[in-house]
Symmetry: C2
Subunit: 325 residues, 2 copies
């Protein structure tokens, strides 16, 4: 594996710290949790005291990651007023994304692969070209010379695996594949990670998926998939069970934009859009109290379902015409 | 990448051959086609005359592979009676799997990662521990010193990608990840392969999938998913559109065995079984005019749908009791 250049100041600050607080972003995903847990294990193996903090609970599908129970929602030692030697923000580059107003730490470090304009922290290692924070943490742990046991490898693999969509997105770089090779060599079982992350669908969620697919409709190359509150109550599901529904609609041949509309109130809806590239859905999202990226964005709309659907489809169709003219 | 030991006799025979016939198995999959097309390109780049032969047409989803149109269903030059210097059987180790009764070739070579008891061929390179024939062909092309352009890399990547279930199965070995890293470096776009292989579902197939999911039922930890002839005609689909339906049922939390029953006649059905490991479905398959592996097997059953479902579920439930006693 090509060795990644890691700032000496970063490894130096981590080496010096005896106590470390690791914090990641709200609604933590596989990369946030996997890289946090891996770094925590490695630092503990180096003899440091480590605390893990997250505003939100660990989602059920990530509760196979070794050590997930150690992630606390409360600042440790807050009552005693002790400050950790180092704070490490992982997979996010600004305080706001952690959901905390302030965080203790004599030195504040940032390790992230997201592009941000903020400059929070004393030492920032931000590499948007990396597949995942997990891949960065893998390099960091190696640079620190800490042990990588099978459990640490599993956390790192899961981080890389989930952030590359299971090695499917364009973020699946040569170095992400090489890291995966190393981690499998260290004992990770790829099928077991797949099973935990992608093959543990609850029967209720599967039922909801079937209903949603059955109701899928097409307006030219715009596919619309809908989940109403009636569907939640009929299947015994919640909002959490609709993950990836927008991707389901996008995976249909000939679909350029997928729209996932889910009901949040009698006449209010959340709208998520996925584009295959030709339509900038972020621009549409801005008109519906939302935002996002060129290919993935969302917002909120009010009205009846029929009205909401008609308005968003029209907006997307017009956006196409604009970009073609 | 660790260099794989390739028999000198194999590389020697290929180097000597001026004309080569490449044949793979019936119902060719991504590995069969990807490795065949990659090897053909490499051999053409070495100045050889190459023909590609397959009993079955190239499935639609693989028609993004460069050169797929060159795969012929007819023996080339048969009328002239000329025999190629070398026949290479790829991704299968016996004549029977090709669907042809006899195949020409002054020397007959086999490159395969499936375990077979047959000993067809003059030189056999069979490595069941390899992820895919694609990975073997990648090593072979490197050993031959032939050029690997982006198109060849795309064929090899697709071969490895599809046979590891998109780097999800336990066959996702360190060396398969390292090969993927190299191939992405050579210009392969992982997302584009994903899109072609997994994200080009026809609207009709998606509709069938929704109907099948809606009808999914559970008997203890056995999940049953059914497709009837009525469902085909209602959605305008065929047997080809049911790929991976058994996996859909297996992906439900708590399911140990997934059964996919599809109707082939008024009272006749094909039955596919997928086990997560605790039940040997091959043993059940043998009782229903079929066969397979421990975790994936199938066969044929006659009767009404209700009868067939009851019999197979009972057999699977008893199999569990046997293995526990």
């Amino acid at each position: 594996m090509k060795v990644m250049k890691i700032p000496d100041a970063l490894t130096g600050a981590i080496r010096q710290a005896e106590s470390v607080l690791i914090v990641t972003h709200v609604s933590p995903d596989g990369d946030a949790l996997g890289s946090s847990l891996a770094l925590a294990r490695a630092l503990v193996a180096m003899g440091k005291r480590v605390s893990l903090l997250n505003k939100d609970p660990v989602p059920r599908i990530y509760r196979f990651l070794p050590g997930w129970q150690d992630v606390s929602a409360q600042l440790p030692d807050a009552a005693e007023g002790t400050e950790p030697d180092a704070l490490i923000l992982l997979d996010c580059g600004e305080l706001e994304r952690t959901g905390f107003g302030t965080l203790p730490g004599r030195v504040k470090l940032v390790v992230d692969h997201h592009l941000t304009e903020r400059s929070y922290g004393d030492i920032r290692w931000v590499r948007p070209e990396m597949s995942s924070t997990g891949e960065m943490v893998y390099s960091l742990i190696r640079a620190l010379g800490a042990e990588i046991d099978t459990e640490t490898a599993l956390c790192l693999y899961t981080a890389i695996f989930t952030d590359t969509g299971g090695f499917r997105y364009s973020s699946s770089t040569p170095s992400s594949f090489r890291a995966a090779a190393d981690l499998v060599e260290l004992g990770v079982k790829p099928w077991s990670v797949t099973e935990n992350v992608y093959e543990s669908i609850s029967p209720a969620r599967m039922k909801l998926m079937g209903m949603a697919i059955n109701g899928m409709r097409f307006h030219g190359d715009v596919a619309v998939i809908v989940v109403t509150r009636d569907m939640y109550s009929e299947t015994g599901t919640t909002d959490e069970d609709t993950e990836n529904f927008a991707n389901l609609a996008r995976s249909v041949q000939g679909v350029e934009v997928a729209v996932f509309i889910r009901q949040t109130g009698p006449e209010s809806f959340k709208v998520s859009m996925r584009s295959k590239g030709r339509v900038n859905v972020a621009a549409i999202a801005e008109t519906i109290r939302g935002g996002g990226h060129h290919n993935a964005a969302g917002g909120k709309m009010d009205g009846t379902l029929a009205e909401v659907e008609e308005r968003i489809v029209t907006a997307l169709t017009n956006a196409r015409c604009d970009s073609q003219s």
